[in-house]
C-alpha cells in the first residue's frame, strides 16, 4: 500500500483502524438536516396546540378550538380539545343527520312503516348493516340460521312468537330456551316410543304400536305435554317447539337420510335435552335500532 493512497482527500475524524481504515467527517445532507429542523418546529407547534405537557398532576390542554357537543340525552358541554369530545361531536353530527329519518321510524307503527315504500326501504337498508354486525354470526347473513343451533328467521315457525311485539321483546331482552334431558327419568324403550310418536306428529313413518305407547308417555309420565302442549304445537311464552310442523330447529330430522337416523336425532334431544340462549341486545343497541331490526326480521318472510 502506498502512502499516497492514504492521503485524505476530505476531512477525517482522525481515527484510523487497521492502519488505513478511516472515518470521513462528511456534513449531513442538507435535505436531511432541514427536514430534521422542520420536525422540531412541528413538534413545538404541536405542543402548543394540543394537550401535551405534563404539569404536576395535570397537563397542558392546548390552544386548539374548544369543542361543544350535545350528548344523546340532550346535555351540552364545552371542553378543551380532546379526542373523546371530538368523538362525541362526531356522534352528535351523525345523530342529527339521521334524526329526520329516525324520528319517523320512532313515531310510526310497524304497519305504518310497512305501508310506506320510502320508510320501509330506509328501515331495511339500515337493518341490513345492523343485522350483519350483530345477528349474522348466529342466524347467518341471510337469516337462514343453522339447524340444531340457531333458528331460521326466514320461515314462519317461531319459537317465541313471530308478531312484531314478540320479536321486539326477543331482541330486547334475549331468550333462554331450555329442554331438560330425560335419560334419567325415562327408560330406553320409553324414549324410543316417544321418538316414534314425535316422528308421527309431523307425518313421518312410524311404528303404530310404539306411537301409541309414546303418546301415553308424552302426555303422561314423560311430562312432555307440560311444555309442548297437549296437542304438541308448542307454547311461545316458553319457547317450546311445535312438533307437529315439518320445521326442525334442533333435531335435524329433515336433513337425516334414513328413518333410523331421523329417530336417532330425536332420541338424542330427548335423552340429553338442549339449552339455547339468545343474548339480550338492550345494552348494545338503541331502542330505535331494535325497532328497525324487529321490522327487518319480521319482514324476512315469516312475520305474523
Amino acid at each position: 500500500m502506498s502512502s499516497e493512497k492514504n492521503k485524505p482527500t476530505v476531512q477525517t475524524t482522525g481515527h484510523a483502524w487497521d492502519g488505513d481504515l478511516q472515518e470521513f467527517n462528511n456534513p449531513l445532507p442538507s435535505w436531511w438536516l432541514w427536514t430534521f429542523y422542520a420536525t422540531v418546529i412541528f413538534a413545538i407547534i404541536y405542543w402548543v396546540l394540543y394537550p401535551a405537557w405534563p404539569v404536576g398532576d395535570s397537563f397542558t390542554k392546548g390552544m386548539m378550538n374548544d369543542i361543544t357537543y350535545t350528548t344523546a340525552d340532550g346535555k351540552t358541554k364545552t371542553t378543551h380539545w380532546n379526542t373523546r369530545s371530538l368523538f362525541l361531536k362526531e356522534m352528535q353530527v351523525a345523530r342529527e343527520d339521521q334524526a329526520k329519518y329516525l324520528k319517523d321510524i320512532n313515531a310510526l307503527t310497524f304497519e305504518q312503516i310497512r305501508s310506506s315504500e320510502e320508510k320501509s326501504a330506509f328501515a331495511n337498508s339500515m337493518a341490513k348493516v345492523l343485522f350483519a354486525d350483530n345477528c349474522a354470526a348466529c342466524h347467518q347473513a341471510g337469516g337462514n340460521g343453522v339447524v340444531g343451533r340457531y333458528p331460521n328467521l326466514l320461515d314462519d315457525a317461531w319459537l317465541w312468537g313471530g308478531s312484531f311485539n314478540k320479536i321486539q321483546e326477543t331482541i330486547t331482552n334475549g331468550r333462554t330456551g331450555s329442554m331438560p334431558g330425560f335419560k334419567a327419568s325415562l327408560s330406553a324403550k320409553q324414549i324410543s316410543d316417544v321418538a316414534e310418536y314425535v316422528l308421527s306428529l309431523s307425518g313421518n313413518e312410524a311404528n303404530a304400536a310404539a306411537v301409541k305407547n309414546g303418546k301415553a308417555v308424552f302426555s303422561g309420565q314423560g311430562g312432555c305435554a307440560a311444555c309442548h302442549g297437549a296437542d304438541a304445537t308448542g307454547q311461545d311464552f316458553m319457547g317450546s317447539a311445535n312438533l307437529t310442523d315439518k320445521v326442525w330447529t334442533i333435531a335435524d330430522v329433515a336433513g337425516a337420510d334414513t328413518a333410523a337416523a331421523k329417530k336417532d336425532a330425536i332420541m338424542n334431544v330427548v335423552k340429553n335435552g338442549k339449552t339455547r340462549e339468545m343474548p339480550a341486545w338492550k345494552n348494545r343497541l338503541s331502542t330505535t335500532e331494535i325497532k328497525i331490526l324487529t321490522y327487518y326480521v319480521h319482514e324476512l318472510g315469516g312475520g305474523k
Binding site: 340525552d73 346535555k75 368523538f87 351523525a94 354470526a137 348466529c138 343451533r149 345494552n283
Partner: protein
C-alpha cells in the same frame, strides 16, 4: 467528555446510548403515572366496578395468550364513530388496569374483542372456537379443537400471587380480603381470594357451564368465561355520555 473517548469505549457508548434513547420513553410515559386523570375512576354506588379476573377467567386469559389470539384480535376500541357503531363504547384506560400485559393493539386481522362479552351465547363461542367456519362462512380464523381438554389449574394460586406482586389486588390475608370487600363488594371479593382459587374455579365452571358440559372443567370453560366477561364490567348506562370525556 471527548468524542473519541466515547467512540473507542464500547461499554460507555452502550450506556450513553441507552440513556439517550430512554429519554423519549421517560418523558412520554412516566408523567402519566402522576396525572390524576390517566386512569378513569369508575365507581357505581361507591364500589369499583372494574375488578381483577376470577381464577377461572384468569386461566382463560392465559389460554387466550397461549393460543396467540392477540396476534389477530385487539382489545381496544378507539373513540371513532365507525368503531363505536361496530364494537360499542370506546375502551377506557381503567378497563385494562388489571391486565398484565394489556391486550391493546393497532393491527386487527379479526374483529376487536374489547366488548365481545355477552354478545354471543356460550354455545356459539364453543362452536366458533372449535370450527369457526361452521358459523361464519367467510371467517379465516383457525380451528381450536383441542380446547375441550381438561384445564390445568394446579398452579393458579401462583399465577394470582405473581399478579399480586405487580399490583393486582388479589387477597391472601383477612385484612386484604376486607379491603377488597370494601372496594369491590363481597361477591367480587370472594373471587379474588387466592386461598379459595381452585374451589372458586371449579364452582364457576360448574354454574356457568360455559362449554356445555357441566361435569368437566375444560380449557374451553376458562376461555369462554374470559371472553364473556370482556367489556362488561362498566355499565355505561350509569354514566353520562360526556362523563369519561372529562378525564381527557
Amino acid at each position: 467528555m471527548k468524542h473519541e473517548s466515547i467512540e473507542t469505549n464500547a461499554g460507555l457508548l452502550i450506556i450513553l446510548t441507552l440513556i439517550v434513547i430512554s429519554i423519549g420513553g421517560l418523558v412520554e410515559i412516566v408523567p402519566l403515572y402522576f396525572i390524576d386523570s390517566t386512569i378513569e375512576e369508575v365507581k357505581v354506588e361507591g364500589k369499583d366496578t372494574i375488578h381483577p379476573y376470577s381464577s377461572l377467567e384468569l386461566r382463560g386469559r392465559d389460554i387466550y395468550q397461549r393460543e396467540g389470539c392477540y396476534t389477530c384480535h385487539s382489545q381496544m376500541i378507539r373513540p371513532f364513530r365507525d368503531e363505536a357503531l361496530r364494537y360499542g363504547h370506546y375502551s377506557l384506560a381503567a378497563e385494562s388496569k388489571f391486565d398484565h400485559p394489556f391486550q391493546w393493539g393497532s393491527k386487527r386481522t379479526g374483529p376487536d374483542l374489547a366488548r365481545v362479552g355477552k354478545k354471543y351465547s356460550n354455545e356459539w363461542h364453543v362452536q366458533h372456537l372449535i370450527a369457526p367456519r361452521s358459523v361464519v362462512k367467510e371467517s379465516i380464523m383457525p380451528n381450536y379443537p383441542w380446547l375441550m381438554k381438561p384445564l390445568q389449574y394446579k398452579n393458579v394460586r401462583d399465577r394470582m400471587r405473581a399478579l399480586k406482586m405487580v399490583g393486582v389486588p388479589y387477597s391472601e390475608t383477612t385484612a386484604e380480603y376486607e379491603v377488597n370487600v370494601k372496594r369491590f363488594g363481597e361477591d367480587v371479593a370472594k373471587n379474588l381470594d387466592i386461598l379459595k382459587a381452585e374451589e372458586n374455579l371449579i364452582a364457576q365452571a360448574a354454574t356457568g357451564n360455559y362449554d356445555g358440559n357441566a361435569s368437566d372443567v375444560t380449557e374451553m370453560d376458562a376461555l369462554v368465561a374470559y371472553l364473556q366477561l370482556l367489556g362488561t364490567m362498566v355499565d355505561f348506562s350509569k354514566f353520562d355520555d360526556g362523563h369519561f370525556a372529562d378525564f381527557r
